[in-house]
Amino acid sequence: MARYGMVIDLSRCMGCRSCVEACKIENNTGEGMFWMHVFRRESGKYPNVRWTFTPRPCQHCDNAPCVKVCPVGARFKREDGLVLTDFERCIGCRYCEVACPYGVNYFNWKNPSSNQYYDWEGNEGNDVYGAGKVQDAIGDSIPPYRNPDHEKKYGDDKRLVAGGQHYKGVVTKCTFCVQRTDKGLMPACVATCPVQTLRFGDLDDPDSEVSKLLGQKRSFRLLENLGTNPRVYYLEGAEPIHEINADLPGVTEVRR
C-alpha cells in the first residue's frame, strides 16, 4: 500500500500563495480557515534583506498528537498515511486543536451557511464586499459551500472525511485532499503550485518522485524533536521559528 507524504522544496517557493487559494477553493473552507498557510519571514537589514517562505499544510504525523488525544477516535490515521477527521463522529471538544504543535486545526465555529465569505442566505443585504445575496447572483446552481465530492465517504471503512463545511461544531484540517488522492489525483495545492515547490507521492516507493528528491537533497521536518514523526519533508531552507526578545533576563543570545 502507498504511504503518502509531501516534499516541499523551500528553495523554489516564491510566496505566491496559490496553494492557499487552491486549497480554499477545493475544500470550500470557511472564513479564517487556512488548511494551507505560508509563513513569511524577512531576514537581514535593509538594503540587504531576504524573504523566505514556508508553506504549512497538516503534517500528517505518524505519531500524531491529535490522534492520540481524541476521546472518540474521530481523528484517525489511515493506513496510507493520511490523518483524517470523521465529521460524523467528532464531538467538537477541540482537544486535537490544542494538542497539535503545528496549529493546523480549524474548528467550525459557525453554521456552514454563515461560515462563508459570502452569506448564502443573504440576510444582511450587501456585505462588506458589496456582493449581496449570493443566491441572486448564481441562481439555483450548487451553493458555493457544497461540493458533491465532499459528501461521499472514503476509505475501506467509508467515513465522512472530506471537505470542511458539513457541520458546525466539528474540527477540520487539511486532508491531503482525500477526495482527489483517492482518485489518483494530486492534492489541490500540489497540482496548483506553478513552480513545483510542493510534491506529493508514495514515500514507501523508492522510485517515486518524492523519495528520489529526499535522496538527493538535505531535508528536515518541522519540530522534529517533539517526536511527532511528520510525513511532510522540507528541502533546503530552515525551520521557521519565533524571534526572541533579548530583554528577558537569562537570554544571552538572540538566535538569527
Binding site: G32, M33, F34, H37, F39, R41, R56, P65, K68, V69, C70, P71, V72, G73, A74, R89, C90, I91, G92, C93, R94, Y95, E97, V98, A99, C100, P101, Y102, G103, V104, N105, Y106, F107, N108, W109, K110, N111, S114, Y167, K168, G169, V170, V171, L222, L223, L226, G227, T228, P240, I241, H242, E243, I244, N245, L248, P249, G250, V251, T252, R255
Partner: protein, 428 residues
C-alpha cells in the same frame, strides 16, 4: 429527643422571605444563562470569544475549560473531609461532613454540565463518549475517573451517610416525607444496620482516597501530557492540580461553613475549632502549592528554553501580567493571613472567609493562566500572538451554572438536615 421537636437543621430557612427572594434571583440568573446557551446552540460556538489557534490567533479552549477545572477542583473538599473523618476518626469535623460532601456532588455535576456546554456537538458528545471511548485519550480519565467514578462513589457515600437522618425525618409528616422515606429505604437504625453502614463507608472511604488523587491528577495530565504546548508539558502539572484543587476546595468549604454558621440555629453546632482545623489544613496545603509554583517558575525561566521564555515573558510583563501578579498576590496574601492567624493561635471567621474567597479567585486566575496563554502565545511555529477575551455568552453561562449549583445546594439544605440529627440529640 430534643432534635425531633425543634428540628435544629431540618427546616432551615423554611418560609423565610430571604430564601424565597434569593431563590427567585438565582432562577433569574439561571434563566439568563439558559438563554445565553440557546444562542450558542443556534449560532454555534462563534458566539463565544474563542478562536482557532495559529492563524486564527485565538484560544480554542477558554473560560469553559477554566471553570471545568475549577469546579472539579472544589469537589476535592467533600470527599477528603468525609474520608478523613471515617479513616482517621477526626470526629470534630463531623458537623461539616455532609455540607462538604454535598459541595463535591454539586460541583461535579456543574463540571459535567460545563463539559457538555463546551462541546461543539453536545448531543453527539453524550452518545459518542460512551460508544467510542478511547482509553488512550487523557479525556478518558476525566470522564471515567473524575465524572463517573468520583461522582458515583461520592453519591453512594452521601446516600449511605444520610440514611440514618432520612429515617429520622421520615417519621414526621411533611411535604418532603416521601423523599425522606425513599432515601431511608426501610432503614431502622438497628445495631446490625449501623455496623454494616460503618463497614461499608469505611471501605468506601479507603478506596475513594486514591481515586481522589488519581482523578485530580488525570485532569492535570490532560494538559501535562501535551508536548506541543509550552507551559503545559510539565511533570509537575498533575501534583499541582491536586494541590490547587485541595486549596480551593477547602477554601470553599470554609465559605459555606461560615454562611451556615450565620444561621442562628446552627451557630452552636459549628464551633470555632472546626474553622481552626480548616485554616491550618489550608495553609499546610498552600505551602505545597507555593513550592510547586516556585519550582515551575524557576524551571521556565532559568534555562531559557525559547518557547517557554516567550510564554513566561507574556505572564510576567505581557498581556497576562495583571492576572499573573494578582493571582500570585492573592495566594501569598491569603497564606500570610492564614499563617499569621496560626502564629497568633487565634482564628477569626471573617479573615478565614476572606482567605477562602481570595484563594478561590486565585484558583480561577491560575487556571486561566495555565490554559489560555499557552494557546495564544504558546505556538511553536511563528504565528502572530493571539488574544482571547470571553464574551457575554460565556460569562452568562458560567454565572447561570453557578446559580443552578447554588440553588440546588439551597434546596437541599431546605429539605434535608445538613448536619447529622443524632449528634445534637446526644449533645443536648
Amino acid at each position: 429527643m430534643a432534635s425531633k421537636t425543634n428540628q435544629p437543621s431540618f427546616a432551615l430557612w423554611s418560609g423565610s422571605k430571604i430564601f424565597l427572594a434569593l431563590a427567585v434571583a438565582l432562577l433569574v440568573v439561571a434563566g439568563w444563562g439558559i438563554y445565553a446557551y440557546s444562542q450558542e446552540l443556534i449560532y454555534g460556538l462563534s458566539v463565544s470569544g474563542m478562536g482557532d489557534i495559529g492563524t486564527g490567533g485565538g484560544a480554542a479552549w477558554g473560560l469553559y475549560i477554566v471553570f471545568i477545572v475549577y469546579f472539579v477542583g472544589i469537589s476535592f473538599a467533600g470527599i477528603t473531609i468525609a474520608a478523613l473523618i471515617r479513616l482517621f476518626n477526626l470526629e470534630r469535623l463531623r458537623p461539616i461532613a455532609r455540607m462538604a460532601e454535598l459541595l463535591t456532588i454539586i460541583s461535579l455535576v456543574m463540571a459535567a454540565m460545563v463539559i457538555i456546554i463546551d462541546l461543539g456537538q453536545p448531543g453527539r458528545g453524550i452518545i459518542n463518549l460512551l460508544r467510542y471511548a478511547r482509553p488512550m485519550s487523557p479525556f478518558f480519565g476525566t470522564f471515567t475517573l473524575v465524572i463517573s467514578s468520583y461522582l458515583f462513589a461520592s453519591l453512594v457515600y452521601f446516600y449511605l451517610d444520610g440514611r440514618k437522618d432520612a429515617a429520622e425525618c421520615a417519621k414526621q409528616p411533611g411535604r418532603w416525607q416521601w423523599f425522606h422515606k425513599m432515601w431511608a429505604a426501610g432503614y431502622k437504625d438497628t445495631p446490625g444496620e449501623q455496623r454494616r453502614h460503618r463497614h461499608t463507608t469505611w471501605w468506601l472511604a479507603l478506596f475513594i482516597l486514591p481515586i481522589l488523587v488519581i482523578a485530580h491528577s488525570t485532569l492535570g495530565l490532560v494538559f501535562g501530557l501535551q508536548v506541543g504546548r509550552p507551559g503545559w508539558f510539565n511533570a509537575l502539572q498533575a501534583p499541582s492540580f491536586v494541590l490547587m484543587a485541595a486549596v480551593s476546595g477547602i477554601g470553599f468549604i470554609i465559605i459555606i461553613a461560615a454562611i451556615l454558621r450565620s444561621v442562628p440555629k446552627l451557630r452552636d453546632r459549628l464551633p470555632m475549632n472546626i474553622f481552626t482545623w480548616l485554616g491550618n489544613f489550608t495553609w499546610i496545603l498552600l505551602i505545597g502549592y507555593i513550592y510547586v509554583m516556585a519550582v515551575e517558575i524557576l524551571t521556565s525561566t532559568y534555562t531559557a528554553h525559547r518557547d517557554e521564555v516567550l510564554l513566561t515573558q507574556q505572564l510576567f510583563t505581557g498581556d497576562y501580567a495583571w492576572v499573573f501578579w494578582s493571582s500570585l498576590g492573592l495566594i501569598l496574601t491569603s497564606f500570610g493571613l492564614l499563617f499569621g492567624q496560626f502564629l497568633r493561635r487565634r482564628y477569626t471567621i471573617s479573615l478565614l472567609v476572606v482567605s477562602g474567597i481570595m484563594l478561590n479567585l486565585a484558583a480561577i486566575g491560575k487556571r486561566f493562566l495555565l490554559i489560555v496563554p499557552s494557546q495564544t502565545h504558546g505556538t511553536l511555529l511563528p504565528y502572530d500572538a493571539g488574544s482571547y477575551s470571553p464574551t457575554w455568552v460565556e460569562y452568562s453561562i458560567i454565572l447561570g451554572v453557578f446559580a443552578i449549583g447554588t440553588l440546588a445546594y439551597m434546596l437541599f439544605v431546605k429539605i434535608f438536615p445538613i448536619m447529622e440529627i443524632q449528634e445534637t440529640g446526644k449533645g443536648e
